[in-house]
Structures are given as C-alpha cells and as structure tokens.
Amino acid sequence: MSGHDSKYFSTTKKGEIPELKEELNSQYKDKRKDAVKKVIAAMTVGKDVSSLFTDVVNCMQTENLELKKLVYLYLINYAKSQPDLAILAVNTFVKDSQDPNPLIRALAVRTMGCIRVDKITEYLCDPLQRCLKDDDPYVRKTAAICVAKLYDINAELVEDRGFLDSLKDLISDNNPMVVANAVAALAEIQENSTRPIFEITSNTLSKLLTALNECTEWGQVFILDALSRYKAEDAREAENIVERVTPRLQHANCAVVLSAVKMILQQMELITSTDVVRNLCKKMAPPLVTLLSAEPEIQYVALRNINLIVQKRPTILAHEIKVFFCKYNDPIYVKMEKLEIMIKLASDRNIDQVLLEFKEYATEVDVDFVRKAVRAIGRCAIKLERAAERCISVLLELIKIKVNYVVQEAIIVIKDIFRRYPNTYESIIATLCESLDTLDEPEAKASMIWIIGEYAERIDNADELLEGFLESFPEEPAQVQLQLLTAAVKLFLKKPTEGPQQMIQAVLNNATVETDNPDLRDRAYIYWRLLSTDPEAAKDVVLAEKPVISDDSNQLDPTLLDELLANIATLSSVYHKPPEAFVTRLKTTSLKTEDDYSEAGYSESPAHAAESSASPPSSSSNVPDAASRQPDQPLATAASPVPDLIGDLIGLDNSNSLVPVDQPAAASPSLPVLLPASTGQGLQISAQLVRRDGQIFYSLLFENGSPLLLDGFMIQFNKNTFGLAAVGPLQVPPLQPGTSAATLLPMILFKNVAPGPPNSLLQVAVKNNQQPVWYFNDKISLHVFFTEDGRMERATFLETWKSLPDSNEVLKDYPGLVINSVESTLDKLAASNMFFIAKRKNANQEVLYLSAKIPQGIPFLTELTAALGIPSVKCAVKTPSPELAPLFFEAMESLLKS
C-alpha cells in the first residue's frame, strides 16, 4: 500500500498563503492536519512559508502525534528566521517533555536541540536534565545526543549545568543504545574541545567492549570509533583488545567491519609477537575482500582504505590480487582504484597474470582507464626489475595496435623505464620512432624528444627526426620546446657535425630572440654560453649521468599514512588527506570555558587566549600563551583554505573593470577579517576604510570558501557617527567556489548620521543571493578622514590654539609606544595627512606640533611629547570638537604603531 501525499504538492489558487492561513485556523482537526501537510510540502519545494509561523505553531498543541511531528519539523526549519515568534513554542515543548508517552518526551527534547535560538536553548536545560535521568531508555538515548547538540550551540552552558557529568554517567547505563549514543556524544564533544573531557581509561574500555556485543550495528560503530583513540599500555593489553574486537569483522555492516579493522590496526602497532600479527593479518583479509561485493559506492570506500592498508601491511592481501581484477561493468571509479591496488600488490610471483589483465584493460573503451592501464604496466616495469622485459614487450604489443592514445601513453612510460634501466632496452627505439607522426600530446612528444636526444648517438637519423619537430617550434607548448632545446644541444654535443650545428643555431635563435617564455629563454642562454665558452664543460653538464629513478608509485609519507590509517572509514581515508586539510570548522572554545579551565588549576592555561588569537601577540609577555595554544593554530589557519595571494590576484582580475580608481592597495594583504569563514558559511569578508587621492573608500576582500557560486552582493551601512555611506552599489563579480574578489567601494560622509555621542562603530550588512544576510562590525579609524588641506600656517596654528578654551584640550598617555626617530614619525604622520608645524626640545624630550583637519573644517591641533627611544608618548590635542578626542587618540595610536 502506498500513500497519496503527492496531492499536497499541487498548488491550486493564486492566494495560496492566505488560503493556507485560513485552513490552519480551521476548527476541524483533519483540515488543520491537511493544511500543515500542504505547508510542509511547500517548504520542501523551497517556497517561503515562514509567514505562517504563528498559525502553524498554533497547531502544535495537539494530541495527534503525526501532526505534532510535522509542526516540529516546520519549527526546526523556520525558528531561526523568526526567533521572536519561536518563543511561542517553548511552553508546549516544556509540557511535552513531561508527557506520559516516552515517544513525545523524546520528540520534544530532540526537536528543541535542533532549534538554534538562544531563547529556546535557555528553556532546554531543565527538560534535558530531567530526560537524561528518565526511566525510559528511549528518552535517555535521545537526551544523550541532545547534549552534543547543546554543546555545539553553547558549550559554556553544557559545562555550567553539569551535563557532561550526566553524560559520563550514561556510559554505565544498562541499556546498550543509551551507552552507544552517550559515547558518540562524548567523543564529538571531546573532538571540539581543547581540554580533556572524555578520557578512555582501561576501565571504560572494558565496559564498552562488553557493551559492544549488545549494541545495534550503528552503536558498535560509535563505540569502535571512540575506542580507536585508546592507546594500550603494553602488548598484552593490545592483544586482549584485539581479541575482543575481531568477532566484529564478521558483521554484515561495512561500517562496523572498517571500524574494527581500524582499531585492530591501531593496536597491532604495539603487538610484538610476529605470530599474533601474522594471524591477525590472516583474519583481516577475508572481511576486506568481502567488502568488494557490496554496492559500488561502498566498494569505492573500501578500495581507498585498502590502498592505505596495503601500504602499511602489504602481507594482508598479498595473495588476493585476483579479487582486484576489474569486471567489465564495474563503475569507472572502482576500476581506477582496483588498478592502483593491483600495481601495489604486483610481485614477481603474479606479474604474468597481472600483465595479461593490464593488457586486456588497455583495449577497453574508457580512455582514462586505458591510459591508466598503460601507465600501470610502466610502473610495474619500474617496480619489478625482473619483470621489466616482459612489461616492455607488452607495451610494444600495445603500440602495434596503433590506437593513438595508447601509443602516446606507452611512450611516456617507456621514457621512465629508460630512466630506471639505462642502457638496457634501447633496441626498441626503432619501433618507437615508427609512431613519431601520430604523437600530438605535449607529454608524449616531450618524452619522445627526450628519448631521441638521450640516445642520439645510437639513432642514425636523430637529426632528421628532431628537425621534423623544429618546423613547428614556435607553436609547440613550453614543455615540448624545452625538451627540443635540450635534445638539440645533446645531439650537437654527441655529433658535432654540420647538420646539428645548423640546427642548434636555429633552436637557440628561436628560444632566445623569438620567445617570451622566460624559462625557455634562460635555459637557452645558459646553453649558449656554455657551448661558446667551454664545450667540454657543456658536455659534463648536459650529458651528465642521470640519477636512476625508483618506483615510489604513489607511496604516502609514513607519518601521513599513519594518520590516515587512524582515520579509516572516514572522508580523510577516502581523500588521502589529513582531516585538517579539508575540515574548516574551528574548535568552539568560548572565553568562559577558558577561564574555568584556568581556575581548575592548569597552570599553562591560556588566560589571554581569546585576546591573543584575535590579534597577533604584540608584546613579548603573550608569547608563552601563544605557544601553549599550539594545538589550535593549524585549525585557525585552515579556516581560509584559499591562499590569500592567489585569491587577491584573481580578485584583481575580476574587479579590474569595475573599480574606477587605480587600486594597488585594494589587494593589500593585511585587511582585517571581519566576517570569518566559520561564521559566514564559508564566505570570508575582510575590510577596512582607506583614503586614496582625497577620497574615502571601503576596501573589501571577499573570499568564497563555500561550495556555492555566490552572486548578487549588496552592502548596507548602519547609521554611524560620521554618516558614512556608500556612494554607489557594491560591485563584486559572481564568486566561484574557492575564488575571491577585492574591491574598493567609494564612500561618502554625513549621509546617514547617527545621533548621540560619537563612537567608532561601523555596522555593516552584506548580502548575496545565496546566503542569509551577514552582519559585522568595523571600527572607524579617524585618520582616514584627515583631509589633504589640513596643513596650517604656524601663525594660524598658534592663533587657533590660543583661541580655543583650555577645556577643549584633552590629554592622553601612551605608555607602551615609543618614537625612535622624529623624521620617520613625521613622514608616517604626513602620509596620513597630519602635518608638521614645529618642534622644540624640552630637556631630553622632543615636542612636536602637528595639525590635521577632518571634513566640515574641524581642526585637530596636536602636541606630541616623547623622549627618543624611550617608551611613553604624551599626546595633547586641542579641537573645537573635544568629544571626538577619544577617536582621535585611537587613530593616533594606530598611526604611531604602524
């Protein structure tokens, strides 16, 4: 039997929303339920039905569980956009969390945890506390996960309310599913925290291993993954653990099997007995092979992991190479991975069989696969010396089929084989030369030319062959040009006859005068000079013996390999990248928790951590703190996956035509980040006010680290003290994922002035078509307003100083600042339109007088007093608007610091 819900998708009349509103408020239960279904259907297809919030929430108080679930679903989706209305639902939630029906209690807690609205979260604590101690295991298992949800929203709250302890108590719960969920929640919290929360002791370990037997399949995965972090004391403990985990290898769930394999591999590191290790390897092979009969997607995950496992423990699957033979109908991604593993498992014992397979694959349809198969033959030749000859004969057979891309790929790998076994297989060069005309790919051409140059003395018509390529020299790609150049030089050195001499002239000419590729030109000049000054030296350089290459066929670095093996079954093991290379999320450590941490008596506690991570440590006293925060740092930098430099270049290109002024500084690399990627769903915005040619600009850098194309950027400034506003619209091109754009937005003053006492706050809102509106705060630095006409005559300065009452003079000490040279300080200030008027000496102190002016003609008369080289600068300012003095001092400080 099947449902008929599709009717809810059919949109009927034009006034859909009002109609739904009416139905939602109907007095008939069934009609209300239908209406909610229609709302959910509309939500599913992406219509905005948030305006019905109140009406839907009104349906929440119902006895009908199905209807209740739908309303909850609606709430999860829209609560964030209607936080004020979401509070309406709190009462029902709290009531439901005490319902006699455990399903409803659990539902209430589960849903509340999904609503990330502060007001709701506050009310979540009490019900959650109750539910963690509920009589019903279903409620407890739901509450356990809910603690992890809450930690994600507000870590501080979780710690303050003692939820972590309740969660730890659940590890000893008598219900296996509660235990499993508690473990999952604790493991996640630990992963996001820098302090020890969930430490696995040998006691917990044994408790959890016992629970393993009774857990659901997923619970087993949670527990195994959490336990794989455990480091056994000694070999005996490791053996014990392994013994209790091996039965899991027989589980039908691939995730359980892979997690068990991960744990066994971890513990094997400690086991010293070779017998035990051999036995374990024997036990792990069949389950790994069985994974290859699962769905192709799961096979892919298994193959990527097996690739890692055979690098670490080649014996495990040494005898199983046959299972990696490709089936004709395997998806291409499975075939490619199988091929990779076949190369790794190829040995003198099985190479004949493997070569037959590769040869078969080289005649299939998929071009990429065929190429990889040909390359695989070459890699086997390089790896297995005794099989090299057989590999070459297979390659020659393939060349004879004369399929273009097979030939080209074969020539590329044969070049490598020549490098591996010099002076061994040159007899086949003649066969290779037959295919010369068919080569059209740069890499194949370059390889062939290399071969001709390297063995020029054995190829009778080497000069003719090279000449064939020379005709098209200017059109060839750089790779081919470079090889041609080198090959011509080699030929000339080996056969200094007339033909090669003419050729070398032509090539050198081509590669120096007629090219604009600096690499090519430089190389050509070096050869030219070498040849003209000392041909013998040239021989020593160009014809030097080359180091023999070896087969490091995609072997991973051992430390990386170990890290990846600790991440078996996860994305990391599929990408073959450590997690921090693709996970951009930052650890959530709120300031409060850090304080708690220090109170708890950890001396190395980073008390200023928040401060020092916000701005680079400026004084030496911060250094130890920064060092103690080391574990955090790679993550913090990983937040912007796009290298800034490249991002800027791309950004420049994109915005070139859009920004009216010359903007070398638009790409200034040091714009402060105002919206970090972690808050902006991957979008990072850096910005600063700058002054250029007497005009104020907002210099912005957008970096798109989200997977979406972002376009339709708009910007809006809130009312502020100076009434800063944008002159025109924000001009940012559509941003592809991973790209960035910089722009200079012309600004105007006194457009939307905020009343009240002056402050430096600039509130900015940026939106685009794909994401919600982002709000962030910037700080106005007064010096961008200093006008170019701020210079005063000495007399005017004195006059103004005198005319202003003393109450208009404000003083400020900068104990930490130091002036080392009057000259450079004045230059620095002048660059920001603070003009030097006069200076005098008072004892050992320099006293400088400066003037500056901001729009509307407000002057700032400044007196700076400092002893050269000694920290402490005094600043006195007199201005008709003394209320601006604090802002002025901030600006002064940043100028003196810079």
Partner: protein, 438 residues
C-alpha cells in the same frame, strides 16, 4: 567521528529537491545548488561517489531515478554514510511495499520526514530496523487509512524494544502454525579468458530466512562448512562424518547473530527478526562448481564479415535444469545483418546493446547447445578497427544447485513453550557477473 551526515537530500534526475532534512547547522541551506552545478551538470557525474566542493563533502548514490545526497563538513564516517543510505532505502521500500522512486517519495513525503527524524539524530544513525519502527511509526502507507488513528495510541513498550538488546524483534508474537523458510541463494562470479582458463571465480552466497515463529525463539543453524564441523567433532570428541565439507572464505552475519559465540563455538545461533531477513552472507573461492562452461570462437573474415560460434555446456546433474538462461554475445557497432542457427532456444540481434542475445528458457544438465551466427558489417574505411570487444555475459538460475556445494545440516528452533516447527529449505544458484572474454 562517526557522524554520517549533516544533511540528506533526495533529488530527482533533474536535480529538483524531493525531500531534504538538515541534521546539523554546519552546512548551509542550499548546498544542493553546489551539487547540481558541480556534479550533476558536469561530466563528473558518476565518476566518483565522494566529492569535495568548497568546505563541504558530497556523498551520493543513485537509486532508480533518485539521487540521495549526503552533505557533511566534518571528517565524517563515509562507510557509515553509505551504509545508512542503503539501509534507509531498504526501510523505505519496506514501508512503501517495494518500489523506491520519485513517485514513491512524493506520495509518502510525510512518512519519510517522520522516518528521517527517527532514524538519524544529529547525524548519528539510530535504529533502522523496519520491524521495530513499524511499531510506532505508522502512516497510511502501512495501515489502512480507515482504521482508528493508530499513531495516537501509546504503544506500550515500543521504546523499550527500539533500544533493547533484541532491537530487531518485538515481543508477544503468536502464530498458529510455526514455520521457517530458509533459502540459500548463491551468485557465481566468473571471469574467464578467451582461452577458457579461469581468471577469477568466486561465489557470494546469502542465507535468506522467512520466520513465522511465536514468542522469542532461539535458533541454531548448522552447515556443512569445514570449520563448524571440525569444531563440532572436537566438542563431541568423535571423528567428523565423512562427506563433502566446504571451506568458507568469509562470513558476515545479520546483527541478530551472536558474533562472540560464533567466534568461540563456531555455531550460528540467533533470535530471528519476524518475517523476512538476510541471516548471513558468505564467500567462497576454492573448488567452485561452475554450472556452465562457455566456449566461444569468433573469426573475422575480412573487413565486413564475422563468424561467431558459441558452445555452452551445462555441467550440473542431468536431472536438474537451469531456468532463464541468457547469453549476450557482443558484436561490433557497425553490424548490418545477422543470421543464426541454434540447437536450442532462440537468438536475435539487439542493436540497442550491440549484442546477439541467445535465450534458453529451460536448460537441462549435461547438454551442450551451440549457436553459430554470421555477422555482416558495414565497411567503414576511415575508422580504425576498434580493438575493444566486451566480454560475453551470461545470466541464469539453477534451482536446487549450489555452486559452492553448501548444504544445511540442521536448523534447530527452541522456544520455551516448546512448539513444533516446520522448516523449509531451498537452494538456488544465479549468475552474478559471469563474464567470458572473447
């Protein structure tokens, strides 16, 4: 971290969202746009099931005309994610009564939302057993819409059963007639070279059960596998009975089987779920009885003619027979005309798949029918002769035959009320990927 998903999307082939559920806040709302743009609309579709775009990873699977896409931004457990999708689809199928496609999703979207809420919490898979979920998630899809609202009645101990140690069977079942059906279904995978040598061959078998048993029965299954028999004779300290024993390369079990006990005693003991389920899977590579041998000879006569001779030999008992035998023999794309002679069954040329398709409905053991065909090709001067010839593929079913030789020795049912049960056992061997290179 065993998180499997931050969000799950169900898309149709055009890329429209049929249903989506966000489990975590770390992925934005319209991630699916990125999936459409960077995967669905490019030729990368289907080249790799796990892809990273920006800060998010997309893990996807296609099932009939639906893409199921999982989005994560952390280092999620991919094995868990894929397995979750597979299990969820099984669950939906069990609710909808078979089909899982775009229409089924649209017609049951309320139910699916409800299930999605139940089977995964904050990205962690929870209980996905249809048997248990049906206790308390009931919709028109399952029960008649005319019955009194079943969902409103609190199910007395549903929650205990969801979380219980026997999370796959509910209590208090009662049948008039207690019956167990056991099917051993084997698929033979073969890769044979054109010269007739076996490159790779294995059998993947499943033990499927259908239980209609009252109460909480304990079952014990005995097979003629080597390890189990050896262990048994060890325990009973008497020599193993003669007869064929089978060496299983690997076995995996349904979660109802006590793995620790299997590991120590080598017995398969379990409390079965009610109704249909897959008890175990196994794999065998040694001494496989291939039911069919295929001997192709393909000759190219000049540029435009080919001669195809295929002999298929059935090597199982003469009293048995295979059903639904189909042999697909690939021919070049430029095939113009074909003519056949077959000694059994019917053959025709199917230009859509570039194959000669030879069907034999009932194929007795110990026989060897042949097909001889002449194929005329359109002469194509310019094009180079394609070196590719896909393998010959074969489909079949042989009832009462196991390629591995596996047999059920006993199936014991024990329940405290001590009722009698009727046990039914069937065997069948099917073709998995049965390929012969030509």
């Amino acid at each position: 971290m065993p998180v499997a998903a931050s969000a799950v999307y169900f898309l149709n082939l055009r890329g429209d969202v049929l249903i989506n559920r966000l489990y975590r806040d770390d992925v934005g709302g319209n991630m699916v746009d990125a999936f459409r743009m960077h995967i669905m609309q490019t030729k990368d579709l289907g080249t790799c099931p796990v892809r990273q775009i920006g800060g998010c990873s997309f893990i996807y699977m296609r099932i009939s005309n639906v893409y199921i896409v999982i989005v994560v931004s952390s280092n999620a457990n991919v094995a868990c994610a894929f397995k979750f999708v597979v299990e969820a689809v099984n669950l939906f199928k069990s609710y909808f009564g078979g089909a899982f496609d775009e229409d089924a999703i649209r017609n049951n979207f309320v139910l699916i939302y409800e299930l999605l809420d139940e089977i995964m919490d904050f990205g962690y898979p929870q209980n996905l057993s249809p048997e248990i979920l049906k206790l308390y998630i009931t919709q028109e899809g399952v029960r008649s819409p005319f019955s009194s609202k079943p969902a409103d009645k609190p199910v007395p101990n549903a929650t205990l059963q969801v979380t219980g140690a026997v999370g796959w069977r509910r209590e208090g079942l009662s049948y008039k007639k207690n019956e167990v059906f056991l099917d051993i279904v084997e698929s033979v995978n073969l890769l044979m070279s054109s010269k007739g040598s076996v490159l790779h061959c294995d059998v993947t078998g499943k033990v499927l059960m259908k239980c209609f048993l009252s109460g909480m029965p304990d079952l014990k299954l005995g097979l003629n596998d080597k390890i189990g028999l050896e262990k048994e004779s060890q325990l009973k300290s008497r020599p193993a009975k003669s007869g064929k024993t089978i060496e299983l390369d690997d076995v995996t079990f349904h979660q109802c089987v006590n793995l620790t006990r299997f590991n120590s005693e080598k017995t398969v003991s379990f409390v079965p779920p009610d109704g249909e389920f897959e008890l175990m899977k196994y794999r065998i590579t040694e001494s496989v009885n291939l039911p069919f041998r295929v001997l192709p000879t393909i000759k190219e006569l000049g540029r435009t003619r080919m001669e195809v001779n295929v002999k298929v030999k059935s090597v199982f008992g003469a009293k048995m027979f295979a059903l639904g035998v189909v042999i697909k023999i690939p021919v070049p794309k430029q095939t113009a005309k074909t003519s056949f002679q077959v000694t059994s069954g019917r053959a025709k040329y199917n230009p859509a798949i570039d194959c000669l398709v030879w069907k034999i409905r009932k194929f007795p053991g110990q026989t060897e029918p042949t097909l001889s065909a002449e194929v005329e090709l359109i002469s194509t001067m310019g094009e180079k002769k394609s070196s590719t010839r896909p393998p010959i593929q074969m489909e079949f079913q042989v009832p009462m035959f196991t390629a591995s030789g596996l047999r059920v020795r006993f199936l014991k049912v024990w329940e405290k009320s001590g009722y009698n049960t009727v046990e039914w056992v069937r065997y069948i061997t099917k073709a998995g990927s049965y390929e012969i290179r030509s």
